[in-house]
């Protein structure tokens, strides 16, 4: 056993010493693996960031009701009567003023996307005091809250960052009416940070919605109360709305895009990994070929095949791991935390940040190690089986 270890040590030392001869080849493998890992991580961080923003938004104990088949807030239309009727339903939490519900409007206005300098759909949400209270983690980080009954609005930090024209104090004109940005809000990285908020009454009159709404959010006594509310809704033909927990709604909204990114990211990562694997195999076969005489000589003086095998495999794994490490560091430096925006499920822009996580880095590291292992095991096998006579052959 001890002798095996010293044999392996001798072979590894020999490999390391001969590495400079294959410096370019080895560097190419390291870089190839690094690039694969960085590309994969970029996609995973994108999917993860989008997922975290959108799916992390919904609460379990808030129900959201929309017109049947609407699928997204933007499509829905609800009448005042429906809102009132639903508010009278069971399982809804109450405070001194009655059931905690928020009927909201969700309309789309243009913003200019800084990244492309083109118009983009931004959601303008009309809501009331109750709606804001329902969102516990709302924070005004600059300026102040809008005054009910005025043409004032507040902007989410994401929207402010990615789009032009919503700086604090800016005046906006929508259909002859002037609006002023009076505050900037954050909401713990949730999707609402990509929105503009204003008073429900003002938005209703601007968009001539009379006394209609698009969605209603209802604070539940507890998540289980959703079933009661659903049953109540089904039983009344005037309602028949689609009701989901807010958490489910946003999970649905997130799935399409983040699945798409994942379905794009993994096959790409794997395809590129195959390319890098080809490079790694080439490097390692070359490594074995260039050390064939040394390996055979060691075999001739009594070294076992195992040492040659382990030495070669170790070289490959070290190269791949090094590549993986460089790739992960590059991904972290270049991609982690960068913000981007895309069209979300409600046909409006969702601002999100790329988010790397230890789990993602681990996945990429596994990919690198697989490249290193497969890239090393076949050449190692060849090294282990090199005929001893090679040592005695003319150069």
């Amino acid at each position: 056993m001890g002798s095996l270890i010293s044999q392996i040590n001798a072979v590894v030392a020999m490999n390391v010493k001969s590495l400079p001869q294959r410096a370019w080849m080895s560097a190419a493998t390291v870089f190839a693996v690094a690039i694969v890992v960085a590309v994969l991580l970029a996609f995973l961080a994108m999917a993860n960031g989008f997922q975290a923003t959108v799916a992390g938004t919904g609460a379990r104990d808030v129900a959201i009701a929309m017109r049947q088949g609407a699928q997204a807030e933007v499509n829905s239309v609800l009448m005042k009567e429906q809102v009132d009727l639903l508010s009278a339903g069971p399982g809804i939490a109450k405070n001194e003023t009655g059931p905690i519900v928020s009927a909201e409007l969700y309309v789309i206005v243009d913003g200019i996307k800084k990244a492309s300098d083109t118009k983009a759909n931004l959601p303008l949400r009309g809501l009331s005091e109750a709606g804001m209270k329902m969102r516990g983690d709302l924070k005004i980080i600059e300026g102040r809250m809008f005054q009910p009954g005025t043409n004032e609005l507040i902007v989410g930090v994401g929207a402010l960052k990615e789009f032009e024209g919503f700086e604090l104090g800016r005046e906006l004109t929508f259909a002859r009416s002037r609006w002023t940005v009076v505050g900037v809000f954050s909401m713990d990285g949730k999707v609402a940070e990509s929105e503009l908020w204003a008073d429900i009454g003002s938005v209703q009159s601007l968009f001539q919605r009379g006394n209609s709404f698009q969605t209603v959010r209802l604070k539940l006594d507890d998540p289980a109360a959703l079933e009661q509310l659903k049953a109540y809704n089904e039983a009344d033909p005037r309602l028949k709305l689609d009701i989901k927990s807010e958490a489910d709604y946003f999970a649905d909204q997130a799935s399409g895009m983040s699945d798409l990114i994942m379905y794009l990211g993994w096959p790409l990562g794997i395809a590129m990994a195959f390319g890098a694997l080809a490079g790694a195999l080439n490097t390692m076969y070359t490594s074995v070929a260039s050390r064939a005489r040394e390996i055979a000589t060691l075999r001739a003086i009594g070294f076992g095949g195992t040492a040659a095998f382990v030495g070669t495999l170790a070289e490959s794994m070290v190269l791949a791991l090094l590549g993986g490490l460089i790739g992960a560091i590059a991904a972290f430096l270049f991609f982690d935390g960068i913000t981007a925006s895309t069209l979300g499920g409600s046909f409006t822009q969702v601002v999100f940040s790329f988010k790397l996580s230890p789990a993602l880095i681990w996945q990429a590291a596994v990919l690198a190690l697989i490249i290193g292992f497969i890239g090393g095991v076949f050449p190692a096998w060849r090294a282990a089986r090199l005929p001893v006579v090679v040592a005695f052959r003319a150069a």
Binding site: W24, M25, A27, A28, T29, F31, A32, I35, V36, A38, V39, R67, Q68, G69, A70, Q71, A72, V74, N75, V77, V107, I108, V109, D110, K113, A115, S116, T118, K119, A120, N121, F174, A175, R176, F207, L268, A271, M272, F274, G275, A276, A278, G279, L281, N282, T283, Y285, T286, A340, S341, T342, L343, F347, Q349
Partner: protein
Amino acid sequence: MSDLYLIFKNLTRRKLRLSLTLFAIFVAFLIFGVLSSFNKAFNSGIELSADDRMVVVNKINFTQPLPIAYVNKARAIEGIDVLTWCNWFGGYYQDPKNFVAAMACDAETLLDVYPEIVLPEDQKKAFMANRQGLIAGQSIAAKYGWKVGDRIPMNSNIFSQKTGGSAWDFDVEGIYTGSTEQFDTNSVYFHYKYFDESRSFGKDFAGWLILRTTDPALNDQVANTIDTMFANSFYETSTDSEKAFNKAFIAQIGNIAMIVTSVVGAAFFTILLIVGNTMVLAIRERTGEIAVMKTLGFPAARIFKLVLGESLLLSLIGGLLGIGAAWLIIGAMKAALAGILPTLVLTPDVALTALAIMVGLGFLTGIVPALSAHRLNIITAMSRQ
């Protein structure tokens, strides 16, 4: 025996190394072919847009409506050839998951504004004559198995009928194809009149107007006239060329072109390293042979060509296989993705770009070993043997 034979024999002498290198090139071009086609499909709206076609939308956002009265006012403007209007229906077929890109448009003018919609004459007539008629693109019709003469229900996730319910009944009167392969045949058009009369809210409003100018040179003038005409009204307009409008819309999804370029760039950079190194190595191993060929009287330029030819051939074989595979994959994905990317095809210009990259790659990976082979000194090479 020709030089090509020599190149081929040199290339294929180490089968394992050749296969691995070819495979790496194959993968890079596969990625290029697939991603570029995706990017193309995303951008096809820009590329296929007609120069003389313009879109008039509500200035607040294109999802906000415009009064139908604008149609007649705008039509009077000089420089407009034809004008139609549409309203987004938010359609789905049977299940909310079965999204249908359905639009209620003015049937009289729709086909004049979109000559790309190719419809047999009898189907055209039948569609015009039936106010509940609908024309469906070939690809969506195939997806749901609609045939001319079928009566189909379609739901809206936005609108509802005056009589209640969100389902409308339509007669499939025509199935259209595109005048080019890339034209979107995944949409559905029906009569605005039928839709407007039966919907429970939003009557007398249109989603957007589309027009063709008599001359693209008049585009800016027409846009200005329209937007000035409705300025300071409750429904201000924003008029853009179809191209600009589509461009902005695609930019909403994200900078896909940048993502594609980065990934493809990363893939090519990787194989540049791998193939470049392999070529250097392969030629270095052949130092003695090259010296012998030079001794036999092969001029340096010819040796240079043989080496460069080898890297070019390598790149071309791997690249063509990769693009071929991309073509097969895109072909297989086309049907599955018709709903999201109806114009997904591997176009000849993607293939041509790939070809140019193959030549570039072959050149870049071959130039260093080719130069060293060119410079190789017979005496030193032979004594090193």
